[in-house]
Symmetry: C2
């Protein structure tokens, strides 16, 4: 093999303050950073076919281990090839470990050092997930990047509970690395530690002692206040190894992303663009940051969702038509606004990468923050 960069490696290209551009190479090609992963929980980015997904410029997608494990099961995915063949996505795929979903099953799970016993949300069947099983499932799916199984503790717990949970997460991280079998699957560690700075630092140090292919920040955007999340971002990403990719899990609004990049984060995922899209909320550029296309003001609006956007919704349809689709319950409405929002996010990431490459990220950041301050802020209708 004479490949210039080995797979599972991050190449840092340029920094501006804490913000960085780079690229990450996988067995299914490279993606540039900072980047955003459209979420295909069950192996499908909701309402978006693979050709549209490529068209909007996605370079990597995310799937969910918990959901694909239960249905259709990794053996079915394997029988159809692997996750790439299954969903016809030839680029990089990252899977989360399933931990977040399992730990959301309150009252239906029992946590032990060995792993977590739970009942399937589909049929109540008894299941058992451990760090080793999670890695095994992810390797069987054939993803390019697997996440370790971690415990994401409930917000608001006291420090000793968070520390206890974190220590188990760190032991699980080590077990995850030892469980890896595939040469082609990168494994990323995840920090926890709640909102406690020294626990976050401790988590980062302990994980850095293990040779992960990348490092993720977990346990944010799980119900805490925005200022609390931003506080963690102000000190925590730089705890993580500089030469490795940094991934902030499950975040967030465009404002959150701009903030996190400013703090040194490289990779993101969030259901927000597609979930907001299904509710008719479109992210836009300009004075407003978001519009609700269902509002009466758009009934006879001839302009596109966002005149600066080139997605199929914006190049083909007036706002009035999309308003109509939502009012009469046509599925094309959610499809179009989801595609638009994903395009908005991926355009944002391209803009961020260019700004850092050209040494003007500080200005980009300030302008975007100002726009969010005056433009109405983040969505607050429970659909985020």
């Amino acid at each position: 093999m004479s490949s210039p960069a080995p797979i599972k490696s991050f190449t840092l290209k340029k920094t501006e303050g804490r913000a960085r551009t780079g690229s990450y190479l996988t067995a299914h090609g490279a993606f540039e950073t900072p980047n955003f992963m459209p979420v295909g929980t069950r192996g499908s980015v909701k309402g978006v076919d693979c050709e549209r997904l490529r068209e909007l410029g996605a370079q990597i997608t995310l799937v969910n281990t918990y959901h694909l494990w239960l249905r259709p099961g990794p053996s079915v995915v394997r029988a159809l090839g692997d996750i790439h063949r299954f969903m016809n996505w030839s680029g990089p795929v990252l899977s989360d470990s399933g931990g977040f979903q399992v730990f959301s099953l309150e009252g239906m799970r029992t946590l032990k050092e060995e792993g977590v016993e739970f009942r399937s949300h589909i049929d109540g069947a008894k299941c058992f997930l451990s760090p080793e099983i999670s890695i095994q499932i992810q390797e069987e799916l054939g993803v390019d990047i697997a996440m370790v199984l971690d415990e994401c503790p409930k917000a608001g717990q006291d420090e000793s509970a968070i520390k206890k949970s974190l220590d188990m997460t760190l032991r699980w991280a080590k077990r995850s690395l030892e469980a890896r079998r595939s040469e082609n699957t990168a494994v990323f560690g995840i920090t926890q530690g709640g909102l406690f700075p020294h626990l976050r630092e401790y988590a980062a140090q302990k994980l850095a002692e293990l040779d992960f292919d990348g490092y993720a920040i977990g346990g944010l955007s799980v119900g805490e206040k925005k200022e609390d999340m931003y506080s963690v971002l102000s000190y925590h990403p730089v705890h993580l190894p500089e030469q490795k990719i940094r991934y902030l899990m499950g975040v967030g609004t465009p404002e959150d992303i701009v903030e996190a990049v400013h703090s040194g984060v490289d990779l993101f995922d969030c259901v927000m663009p597609t979930r907001a899209g299904r509710f008719g909320r479109a992210f836009v550029r300009g004075d407003e940051v978001q519009i609700n296309i269902k509002n009466a003001q758009f009934v006879t609006d001839q302009s596109p969702l966002d005149p600066t956007c080139s997605c199929i919704a914006c190049r083909s349809y007036p706002r009035g038509y999309i308003n109509h689709l939502f009012r009469v319950g046509e599925m094309l409405g959610p499809q179009l606004v989801s595609i638009h929002n994903l395009t908005h996010y991926l355009d944002l990431m391209r803009g961020i990468r260019s700004a850092i490459a050209e040494g003007r990220y500080e200005r980009f950041y300030a302008a975007e923050k100002a726009r969010w301050r005056t433009g109405g802020g983040a969505p607050d209708d429970g659909a985020n």
Copy 2:
């Protein structure tokens, strides 16, 4: 104007037995016949964006006057341009008159000579539809082909009731023609007469005395037995003027279409391809005529829905993946099978046109009928 064929005109090209090929010219271009119109009831072919709609080879689409009248209303469509701009479909558009929907509102409507009073299915608001109002709405929408308002009597009524209804429909047809104002909107008459041959002939004769731009057969595929519909097809299409286009409304399965073309019909519409698609039923070529992709036998099936099809579903995804999408309730499943079925129908129409053009429709017809006899026949799960 030195255009070779005037708009609103049908050009007969070739016949084989009763089957015909031709083309119909509208203010938004021509479509070839025999042809099938994807149904965009509320101005959207369910789950299919305008680019995919063009890709699958549709030459004309259908919208529903009743639904667009109530929401968003013709004035809103007008404010956004016309129906073509509204739904971004630059080709021909035909609208039905709204009669079928209004007469389905049993117990919520009162029929008078002047028109029909009814309550909106959305908010119970009192509405009034007459032949004149229907034409006016359709012209305001800016469609290329408007259908007259007719009464579609319930199946199983006695001859005198059907005759009485038919006579009113014929008076309404005359009023519809007198109500036309737009040069660019063709108006098609509709025959009724139930399953009575002499009433069907009478309807055709009376309508032929009026100068319609095309003639439709109404009141079929409304719950009667298949052999009863085929019986009407055996004698009725040839009652209609030979030099005008003949449209069989709301029909049907691929087998029905092949049968009706054999009887001299030129144009079709039906919700079947998209409705069946939403239920996971895919039309295929080969030994079977239809498969239910939700069936367990397809869980690990690596082949496409139909290896002879070039639609996005067939060129991109294995059956096993589409099975998975339906099992987990992902909207991409209905989208893909709807697009596949529409492609199947439009490929069928292309095949029919080629067969007639090349003088081999009789063989084509016999082969397709044989395939349906042995291949399992029409869907019967209530979703057609």
